[in-house]
């Protein structure tokens, strides 16, 4: 019998460590001989803290646990009894239908080990076939054959742009220099994205193995992982994994007795979104301000300290060992015509089951959101899904049947991006959302090129005044014109994609912009300057609850008679709406 507890940073934040301690205590007290294992995140973040009990070829998943409940369940394990209580989510046959149920429709390639193995134990990774792909390329394949296999797989970069991975590797390989580098981009900064964090925390060795294989294919002896400082657990597990890999000689000189030598180092970012852009990342690695530069030259010719460098995303690299192990054909068999394999998405926002899912490319958005994500949380209706964070766009309900592949998503005006999917219901104002993303890009703009520095600022100002009820005639057209300029002429991807949230909301929710400007209303009732709270004299029972609760004391009236809100002093905090008893519902918002 084995007990597994999800202890990614999401599991820990949900209270996983307390559950772990409680179980440990029971095992000690009752001297039970049961192995405990910590794992990374299986993707079911909304079910954490989560415990899997593996027994007799079956996996019993207990979810949303607390320490007391976990202790009780474990107490009864001694007699071989697995309680079927309210915490039990599912029972699965380990080898047969492990991917069924919530995972239905999912295909686990990048996340194959997440939630199953102990990320801090290299033996676990080795037991599940780890480092065999590295062995295979080093002993049985030439670098050209390795490149060919990746080409066959059709793998495209998962960091956002979708550039074919083999092509980038080949360009770096063909560049003439004795020193080459391979870099893992783990600077994941898109609001709403946490796929790479989960991979780093849950299966760090697959990234290391992917990097070593990349190193062999392009002829690089040195790899660097650039990981954001906001991911301390990922850094810790990577450090440990690198140390373990060195001890087992999977990193170092003459790996597997071949003449290939490779080592890795970690460099921490320091909280600058633009450093996810590859040329800015290189500047940061060199200890400079993280400012991008014009391409070409591309990093594959002129990268880290001027040497050819291949920069690859975390998820891209996690796929590599699988491709070598199962063959490029097997990977290409999954997914759609132009977009092969799978993609991991992070479901957040108003979604019922927030967490990670890995699906074959080409699955319709609707299936991801409704079948895997369980649909909308609460009783609101679906309004839009935001893909690709601040570089992406909003996709409306009418386009929910769009398949997730690079080309189809791009044709909506959004981008596939790195995999963040933020779901919104009717209570979200699309103008406010665009303002929010612009506020982000405006702050994160490094300031090097005028188009991005000033363009994002001007767009933000216009959006701010529209949300403040001071939109002017012509503002929509002004936004469109600036957006196109910024998109066309910014220096790097940050500026080039910054207008996307504005352009897509204008495309699909133009009426909301118009309502703000011409009718002075916010249809979603979000923009404070455009909403008014009034008390319906017919419904008001004159209890005075609202008047007592109002923080600025702007509600007055006599008991048993209708109360009135002084509009000139109202701050639109909404306290009165919340406090007015549901059965009367006398405060109206419009």
């Amino acid at each position: 019998m084995i007990i597994r507890i999800g202890l990614g940073s999401c599991g820990i934040a949900a209270g996983g460590l307390e559950v772990w301690d409680a179980i440990q205590k029971v095992l000690d007290e009752q001297a039970m001989d049961i192995q405990m294992k910590k794992t990374g995140c299986a993707g079911m973040c909304h079910y954490e803290p989560l415990m899997d009990v593996l027994h007799d070829g079956r996996q019993y998943s207990y979810v949303n646990l607390n320490p007391a409940a976990a202790a009780e369940i474990v107490s009864s394990l001694g007699e071989g009894h697995l309680p079927e209580n309210k915490y039990l989510l599912s029972i699965k046959d380990i080898d047969k239908d492990i991917d069924s149920d919530l995972f239905s429709g999912q295909v686990r390639i990048a996340l194959r080990n997440c939630g199953r193995i102990d990320p801090e134990a290299i033996e676990d990774y080795i037991d599940s076939g780890g480092y065999q792909s590295l062995r295979r390329v080093l002993l049985d394949m030439t670098a050209a054959e390795c490149l060919e296999e990746i080409k066959t797989s059709g793998l495209r970069g998962r960091g956002g742009a979708g550039f074919p991975t083999w092509f980038k590797w080949k360009a770096t390989r063909d560049a003439i220099d004795d020193i080459k580098y391979v870099v893992c981009n783990a600077d994941e900064g898109d609001p709403g994205a946490f796929m790479d964090r989960s991979l780093l925390e849950g299966d760090p060795h697959s990234i290391i193995e992917g990097l070593a294989i990349a190193g062999y294919a392009i002829g690089a002896g040195q790899g660097i992982i650039y990981v954001r400082a906001e991911y301390p657990l990922a850094v810790k597990r990577l450090e440990l994994a690198i140390e373990q890999a060195r001890q087992k000689s999977y990193l170092g000189n003459n790996i597997f007795g071949s003449d290939f030598s490779f080592d890795l180092q970690i460099k921490k970012g320091a909280g600058a979104f633009v450093c996810g852009e590859e040329t800015a990342l290189l500047a940061s690695l060199q200890g400079e301000r993280g400012m991008p530069h014009l391409k070409p030259p591309f990093p594959s010719e002129h990268g880290y300290w001027g040497h050819p460098t291949s920069i690859n995303n975390v998820e891209t690299l996690a796929n590599i060992p699988w491709i070598i192990q199962n063959g490029g054909q097997a990977f290409a068999a999954v997914g759609s015509d132009q977009s092969k394999g799978t993609k991991v998405f992070a479901l957040a926002g108003k979604i019922k089951y927030g967490g990670l899912v890995e699906v074959p490319m080409g699955m319709p958005l609707r299936d991801i959101i409704y079948d895997l994500g369980g649909g909308i949380r609460g009783d609101g209706a679906f309004k839009a899904v935001q893909l690709g964070g601040p570089s992406g766009g909003c996709i409306p309900a009418s386009l929910l049947d769009t398949p997730v592949d690079y080309e189809s998503i791009t044709s909506t005006g959004a981008i596939m991006g790195s995999g963040g999917m933020v779901v919104m219901d009717e209570s979200s104002c699309m103008v406010d959302l665009a303002r929010f993303f612009l506020d982000f890009t405006q702050k994160e703009s490094c300031g090097k090129c005028v188009q991005c520095r000033l363009g994002t600022k001007r767009m933000l100002e216009i959006l701010e005044r529209i949300c403040a009820g001071q939109g002017r005639k012509g503002d929509i057209e002004r936004l469109e014109s600036i957006a196109l300029h910024v998109k066309e002429s910014s220096l790097c991807g940050l500026g080039q994609s910054a207008p996307n949230p504005v352009l897509t909301t204008l495309k699909y929710f133009r009426d909301e912009y118009e309502a703000h400007i011409y009718e002075q209303t916010c249809p979603a009732h979000q923009c404070k300057a455009l909403i008014h709270y009034t008390i319906d004299p017919e419904k008001c029972k004159g209890c005075g609850l609202c008047a007592r609760a109002c923080p600025v004391e702007c509600i007055s009236g006599e008991r048993k008679k209708p109360f009135v809100i002084d509009q000139s002093r109202c701050t639109r905090c909404g306290t009165c709406v919340d406090i007015c008893p549901d059965k009367w519902n006398a405060v109206q918002v419009d």
């Binding site: 940073s9 320091a270 600058a272």
Partner: protein, 148 residues
């Protein structure tokens, strides 16, 4: 005597090591002491303005004192939509300071952060880089009380 030089020196000869040096300083002090920047400029043989430029470019670095507990509140769109504003209001009220300020006893500092990658449980705050998810305004008192 400050120990800035001692903290910085292991990174002195690393190519591009100044960011690592700043991380080490911030690890020790919870912020980058202003005087340490001049020491770093000296040791890395770059101008003072370059050393400042690097320190101020990155939002994870903070020059000048801050509290023992640095509370960062995610203000990115997903957390915003989930009610980060209410959490901010509750923290400000509980601590009697505004965003960007430090309590008089030097214990707590409130700062904004962009997405910290825990969007499965919005709204999110971090205390000394440790994430707290699904934070409700009512739970703020309890969370703060645990910071001894």
């Amino acid at each position: 005597m400050s120990d800035y030089a001692k903290i910085i020196s292991p990174y002195k000869d690393l190519p591009g090591g100044i960011i690592e040096a700043y991380h080490a300083l911030q690890n020790k002090y919870n912020y980058i002491p202003e005087d340490a920047i001049a020491v770093a400029a000296d040791m890395f043989d770059i101008s003072l303005s370059q050393a400042y430029g690097v320190a101020t470019f990155y939002s994870y670095f903070k020059i000048g004192p801050r509290g023992r507990y640095v509370i960062r509140i995610c203000e990115s769109a997903p957390c915003h939509v989930a009610g980060a504003d209410d959490v901010i209001a509750a923290l400000e009220k509980e601590l009697g300071i505004s965003m960007g300020e430090t309590t008089e006893d030097g214990k707590f500092t409130l700062e904004f952060a962009e997405c910290v990658g825990q969007c499965q449980g919005t709204p999110v705050i971090t205390i000394n880089s440790q994430p707290y998810v699904n934070v409700e305004p009512e739970k703020v008192g309890e969370i703060l009380a645990a910071c001894k």
